[in-house]
């Protein structure tokens, strides 16, 4: 039935409603309530673009002139390469592909939609860095993977006014398999670390650099001189060089496919750790245990780690201290001000043993 089924229906252009409702409507109209489908539309340029959230749904509806062509596809048959730019030229073909889904030449690697992506790494400041250097940003936030790399002391050769000179440097010594650093492909063993979050490491000890990296770990930006210089960015303009200033806006063209380029990196983004510390206020009166809702999972895990029972049995008022817009639902939970942690701490039977050694710090 997916081969060719066409329906026409109307929507309020100015109040299209929510994507979720639209999705349900589609499923209802086509009587495919229990199928996972992907919805796409053709924009003004004829590009096939996905509809998967409120924003792009709204965008799609508002850009319809006057008809909005919506494509519905079974989720597992979607050819993601069809989305995005240049689908204009291939639109017809795409539609053909839609009808002849059995004829797909090769099975696609099943990756989720950009909606489900989180950036894990990026190469930044390409326009201002010398070509031999690479500035890599690792997004640790929200990612369960360990950063996963090790650094060591070493020596590197520098060009100085007095000729070549050996100077101590910091190098990546090991990558943890499956770690964030390895998975980006942007860092490699023996890359020399030059800067950590904009601060030069020259003259700092291994331990200092370690502490700097860990302190910046949620948003780590390291500038390296890759050991392998063959993957470097090739600029069409030779103006850059040692001046480090490049006016070439096409510099983003590079050969590393798994990363996307972020130019003109905004300093505010560097400060992503400006996320506020979490302040939990204890109410004056012991409160009944309210339902837990709309607490973002990340903030929850930050407060309470893993034990759900832990957080459920305390009344807490979660407040965002930095004055970031407070979520309408005040997260009332936890901490009934009972000083008795029996309720707040559940440890699996036989779980903890301590050998009681003395630590003096």
């Amino acid at each position: 039935q997916f081969g060719a089924e066409f329906r026409r229906f109307s929507l309020d252009r100015y109040k299209p409603g929510k994507f979720e409702d639209f999705y349900k409507l589609i499923l209802h109209i086509h009587h495919i309530a229990n199928l996972e489908v992907m919805i796409g539309y053709a924009d003004v340029h004829g590009d096939l673009l996905p509809i998967n959230n409120d924003d792009n749904f709204f965008k799609a509806v508002s850009s319809a002139h006057p008809l909005l062509r919506v494509f519905i596809q079974r989720q597992d048959e979607v050819d993601y390469s069809n989305f995005g730019t240049n689908t204009l030229s291939r639109k017809k073909k795409a539609l053909v592909t839609l009808r002849n889904d059995n004829l797909r030449r090769r099975p696609h690697i099943n990756i989720s939609m950009p909606h489900d992506f989180r950036p894990v790494s990026s190469i930044i400041d390409v326009d201002i860095l010398p070509e031999t250097h690479r500035r890599v940003r690792l997004y640790r936030h929200g990612c369960e993977k360990p950063l996963g790399f090790y650094i060591r002391d070493g020596t590197s050769v520098r060009v100085t006014p007095h000729g070549l000179e050996k100077v101590p440097g910091i190098f990546i010594s090991r990558m943890v398999p499956g770690g964030l650093a390895e998975s980006t492909g942007l860092l490699a063993v023996n890359d020399e670390v030059l800067e950590v979050n904009g601060i030069e490491v020259a003259g700092k000890t291994l331990d200092q650099v370690t502490d700097m990296m860990i302190a910046n770990s949620h948003n780590l930006i390291i500038t390296v001189k890759p050991a392998n210089q063959r993957n470097n960015i090739i600029r069409s303009s030779r103006m850059s060089g040692s001046s480090g200033q490049s006016t070439d806006s096409t510099a983003s063209h590079h050969s590393l496919p798994t990363s996307h380029v972020l130019q003109n990196f905004h300093p505010d983004e560097m400060e992503s750790d400006e996320e506020a510390d979490i302040v939990i206020e204890g109410g004056l009166e012991p409160q009944h245990i309210p339902k837990l809702h709309s607490l973002t999972s990340s903030s929850l895990s930050r407060i309470n780690g893993s034990s759900l029972s832990h957080r459920l049995q305390r009344d807490l008022v979660l407040n965002n201290s930095s004055g970031r817009e407070s979520n309408g639902n005040i997260h009332k939970l936890l901490s009934s001000l009972k000083t008795d942690p029996r309720h707040s701490l559940v440890i699996p039977r036989g779980g903890i043993e301590e050998d009681g050694t003395v630590i003096t710090l």
Binding site: R140, P146, L147, G148, F149, Y150, I151, R152, S173, K204, T205, L206, Q208, V209, T210, D211, M212, M213, I214, A215, N216, S217, H218, E275, A276, D277, I278, V279, I280, E281, G282, S301, R302, G305, S306, S307, S321, S322, L337, T339, D340, P341, R342, L345, V346, I347, P348, R349, G350, G351, I352, E353, E354, D355, G356, T357, V358, I359, T360, L361
Partner: protein
């Protein structure tokens, strides 16, 4: 930053010297330092560039000069010169004796040094037997005056000795009456008296035993030699016999083989009975391990048994150089770990309490706490408690009293409290240059330990032989490491003291001027609240004594709070006004009302996922230390106690596990290159529940209109807990319970350990200490303006508003510098120019050993100084700051270095050693320089002395023409 003075006992001393003329003592160390000490406050320090061991120290007679011999065979001439109104110790010359080309190094290896009384030359005995002469102060060899061993041998009858008789000069001694004769002792036993004028042997003495040392009797009619076999021999010197036989040959601790007597004194007295004082000579088999010095005076004989190896010793005479008899008054012994002075004038030969060179490490220091500006009343009470402990010390004034302390009196009374591994707390007068023990508090009496009180090496009967008597306080072996003190908090206004230890014990004490017997109340604080599935594998809590316990005058515990599990107490705070004590361990924290003796609440900070952490890397590090300590104790056990100890199965398990850990650690070290893992801190990191800091504050916790008492706690995982407290008013304090409610919990996003919490009042001034306002010593805090909360983690400083706790300001340290905060305190910096300006800043010590000053409340880095080597982990860990910008840290187990960040408060030695005019006669000199030791001591300990020496000073000044002239000239200049 200036590092001003080193307190305590020099690490690894290696040589001792004394100048009876200057009345100064010199100590050399294995690291090439040389330290001079005179009257309290008179201190000099020098450091040899080579950092080689100082082997010998000799003062040039009647001069402000001394020579040192290092183990690289170099000689160094030091002198004390006045500069800018104070004396300074400076190295003047250095010199290495060189033999003819091709000669073996032993030819010039110096073994004995004799500074001649002419002050012009040094005689240097060598391994080859030759004696070289060098000129002073140029240190130039006078070749024509050297005494080759061949020249000596020629004049000794050949049948009495062979060629080897002249190997190695063991001792060189000048004739006490005739400076032209010197006694030369060779190690094989041959002793000759050499005439310097005629270059010939006047007498020779044939000893049969290997020689150790020589000593002249005062009149020059006899000398005494001591030997390797534990014997000593008296030899007569007279003009009629050129080859005399010994008068007397004695093995004092015979007849069984004895150890060598390495040094001997023969002292004459007015009453005729000599003092014979010698080092060593103990029976080899049964007492060969003792470090002893024996004193024999008539029928009295005591073998002083020292706690560590004796480096050297000397005697102090009460008589002048020209007197007929020696009349020794005191014996000064430098042992490896402490200085002991014995009063030989008082019956029973008691020890003299040293005003400096205290052995800080007599039991290992486990923590320290500094309290500035002690009220006079408390100061006097502590001194009086301490004086009751010191009754067994001699009342003799300190005999080493050269030089004059001209440093200004310390501006205030400061106490440094050190906690020790054996469960004691020592109170030191840290006001001035001399770190002086005031009082020692022991917490051991509260507990039942398996240390047998009778297990004492001193309890020897009357007729024991040899008559050993233990002296000294150095005792690094703790009977029970659980007794160790971890945290100390003293309230200087109320005299309340809280002390917490290794096995989760928290003692609250009160100062009592009388000794008393009472029961110590006991409370348990279960920080886990019967968590199921949790098993504590560590040490048990200490057993307490039942019934009343007798406490001596001083700080007496009245309540004991025992944390469960009995893990080490990691933080402690006391609020003497609210009568509350807060304590924290790696499991949680609690609050105890010591007025009502009631536990207010406990809070468990353990994270469910801490399971791994509990046996994480920290325990591994620790176990190494533990096993070290265990091996120490094994040594002690084998040495001291014959009692059997029952080794529980648990202990052996622990040891096994330790061994495994150690092995693992070793393997890891061998395999992995030096690399560091980069990993974000997560909630699952180890020891997040570890309570690092506790803080009491009266502030706006709930709303901005009402302030209330509060307790703040910071953990290793970057969590801050705030509890609102309700303390009943004074009149109902006993009737109503103290209540606590959790008001806030702050999780720092960067999760670094919280090392400091501070509340700033409306004027951005840190809140005063409890009772500070009540005693009119501080302005009351501004409760009108809004308060701010400063949270210091190892990585960041953050200021939050109160009561809303929104972030206001921050300073990131680690993210930019890669360094971490190790210690932080608020320091008040006064201006050295005007009295009325001072400001509060944060003094911060980082893991790199540098000190940073950070302004309040704007968190601007003001200045940074390198202070401690970053490799010196124990130095960094031991650092304490004072409230006025000074600080202390351990440079060795036994020494504190004092440093000052303040331009206003600077405690450093400043002293003068007078150069008395020396007449042509060596033996008569102006004694004013010797005796004008005016003591300036704030402690009042030397009250009587001070008056006496004050008068002497006056006398000396008036008699000194030079001084009078100077006074006159200044007066004239003024006109």
């Amino acid at each position: 930053l200036s590092q001003t003075v080193e307190h305590g006992f020099p690490h690894q001393p290696s040589a001792l010297g004394y100048s009876p003329f200057l009345r100064l003592m010199a100590i050399g160390t294995r690291s090439g330092a040389i330290k001079l000490y005179g009257a309290p406050g008179v201190e000099f320090m020098g450091l040899h560039e080579e950092n080689n061991t100082v082997m010998q120290i000799h003062f040039i007679p009647d001069q402000c000069q001394l020579v040192t011999l290092l183990d690289d065979n170099s000689l160094h001439l030091w002198s004390l010169k006045q500069h800018g109104g104070a004396s300074e110790l400076r190295e003047e010359h250095r010199f290495t004796l060189k033999g003819p080309p091709g000669s073996p190094p032993s030819a010039t290896q110096i073994t004995a040094v004799l500074p001649h009384s002419s002050r012009e030359v040094l005689y240097l005995g060598t391994e080859s037997g030759n004696i070289f002469v060098v000129e002073v102060p140029s240190l130039r060899v006078l070749e024509e005056r050297s005494i080759p061993s061949e020249a000596v041998l020629q004049q000794v009858p050949e049948d009495n000795c062979n060629r080897r008789a002249c190997e190695l000069v063991e001792a060189l001694r000048e004739h006490p009456k005739n400076p032209d004769q010197i006694l030369i002792g060779y190690s094989r036993g041959l002793i000759v008296l050499w005439d310097l004028q005629n270059n010939k042997v006047t007498h020779h003495f044939l000893g049969s035993q290997q020689l150790e040392n020589l000593y002249w009797q005062r009149d020059g009619s006899k000398f005494i030699s001591c030997h390797y076999d534990g014997s000593y021999t008296q030899w007569p010197v007279s003009s009629d016999n050129r080859q005399p036989e010994p008068l007397e040959n004695t093995v004092p601790y015979g007849p069984f083989p004895c150890k060598a007597i390495s040094k001997i004194y023969w002292q004459t007295t007015k009453n005729g009975l000599p003092y014979i004082i010698f080092q060593g000579g103990m029976p080899r088999a049964s007492y060969g391990d003792r470090h002893s010095i024996s004193v024999i005076h008539g029928s009295q004989q005591t073998a002083f048994d020292f706690t560590s190896r004796v480096i050297d010793f000397f005697l102090i005479f009460s008589s002048g150089p020209a007197a007929e008899f020696d009349d020794p008054s005191a014996m000064v012994v430098l042992a490896e770990e402490e200085l002991v002075v014995i009063d030989l004038k008082t019956a029973g030969w008691p020890a003299v309490h040293p005003p400096y060179l205290a052995s800080l490490h007599c039991s290992a220091i486990t923590c320290s706490h500094h309290v500035s500006n002690i009220p006079l009343k408390l100061w006097e009470r502590i001194i009086s408690a301490g004086s009751k402990q010191n009754i067994h010390y001699s009342s003799m004034p300190w005999p080493i009293d050269g030089g004059t302390n001209i440093a200004p009196d310390p501006p205030q009374r400061d106490l440094l409290l050190t906690g020790h591994e054996d469960g004691t707390v020592r109170f030191w007068d840290a006001s001035g240059v001399c770190l002086h023990l005031l009082y020692k508090l022991s917490t051991v009496r509260v507990f039942l330990t398996d240390a047998d009180p009778n297990d004492n090496m001193n309890t020897l009967g009357e007729d024991e032989w040899p008559p050993l008597r233990k002296v000294g306080t150095f005792d690094p072996y703790s009977d029970d490491p659980r007794l160790g003190i971890q945290k100390i908090y003293l309230c200087k206004y109320s005299g309340y003291l809280a002390v917490a230890g290794t096995a989760g014990q928290v003692l609250v004490m009160e100062l009592n001027d009388e000794d008393a017997e009472h029961v110590v109340d006991h409370a348990e604080a279960d920080l886990l609240q019967d968590q199921e599935g949790y098993r504590w594998k560590g040490h048990e809590k200490l057993k307490t004594r039942d019934g009343p316990v007798r406490f001596e005058a001083g700080f007496q515990p009245f309540v004991l709070v025992q944390c469960q599990p009995p893990a080490v107490v990691t933080s402690l705070a006391l609020h003497s006004e609210w009568k509350l004590v807060a304590f924290g361990t790696s499991h949680g924290f609690g609050l105890f009302d010591h007025q009502q003796k009631r536990l207010v609440f406990v809070k468990c900070t353990l994270h469910p996922s801490d399971q791994l952490a509990l046996e994480g890397p920290l325990s591994r590090v620790k176990s190494l230390k533990k096993s070290l300590r265990q091996s120490f104790r094994r040594i002690r056990r084998s040495r001291v106690s014959s009692r059997k100890r029952r080794g529980g199965g648990n202990a052996s398990e622990v040891q096994e596990a330790n061994a495994k850990f150690d092995q693992d650690a070793l393997q890891e070290m061998e395999l992995a290159p030096v690399q560091r893992k980069i990993e974000a801190r997560s909630a699952e990191d180890s020891f997040t529940g570890f309570v690092r800091t506790l803080y009491f504050a009266d502030t706006f916790l709930r709303d901005s209109s009402r302030h209330c008492p509060s307790l703040w706690a910071g953990t290793n995982g970057g969590t801050v807990y705030a509890f609102c407290l309700r303390v009943p008013p004074a009149e109902r304090r006993m009737d109503e319970p103290v209540r606590a409610e959790q008001a806030k919990e702050i999780q720092l996003m960067h999760r670094a350990p919280v090392v400091g919490i501070l509340v700033l009042d409306g004027r951005s001034t840190p809140l005063p200490e409890p009772l500070e306002v009540a005693h009119d010593l501080s302005k009351s805090p501004d409760m009108q303006g809004s308060h701010q909360l400063l949270v210091v983690s190892e990585e960041q400083f953050k200021v939050f508003t109160l009561p809303k706790v929104s972030s206001k300001l921050k300073l990131k340290l680690t993210a930019l510098e890669g360094c971490r905060v190790r210690k932080v305190t608020v320091a008040n910096f006064g201006s050295c120019k005007t009295d009325d300006y001072s400001e509060n800043d944060l003094a911060v010590l980082t893991n790199l050993g540098d000190i940073q000053i950070i302004s309040l409340p704007f968190l601007k880095l003001q200045i940074r100084y390198p202070c401690i080597r970053k490799e010196d982990v124990s130095g960094i860990a031991s650092c304490v700051f004072t409230k006025y910008g000074q600080g202390f840290y351990l440079i060795s187990p036994s020494e504190f270095e004092r440093f000052s960040l303040s331009t206003k408060w600077l405690v450093e030695p400043r002293c003068i050693v007078d150069v008395p005019e020396v007449t042509s006669n060596n033996h008569v000199h102006n004694k004013s320089g010797v005796e004008n030791a005016a003591r300036k001591s704030s402690s009042g300990d030397y009250g009587e002395d001070e008056r006496k020496s004050g008068r002497l000073m006056e006398h000396a000044l008036l008699n000194d023409e030079k001084v009078l002239k100077e006074i006159q000239s200044t007066l004239e200049g003024g006109r």
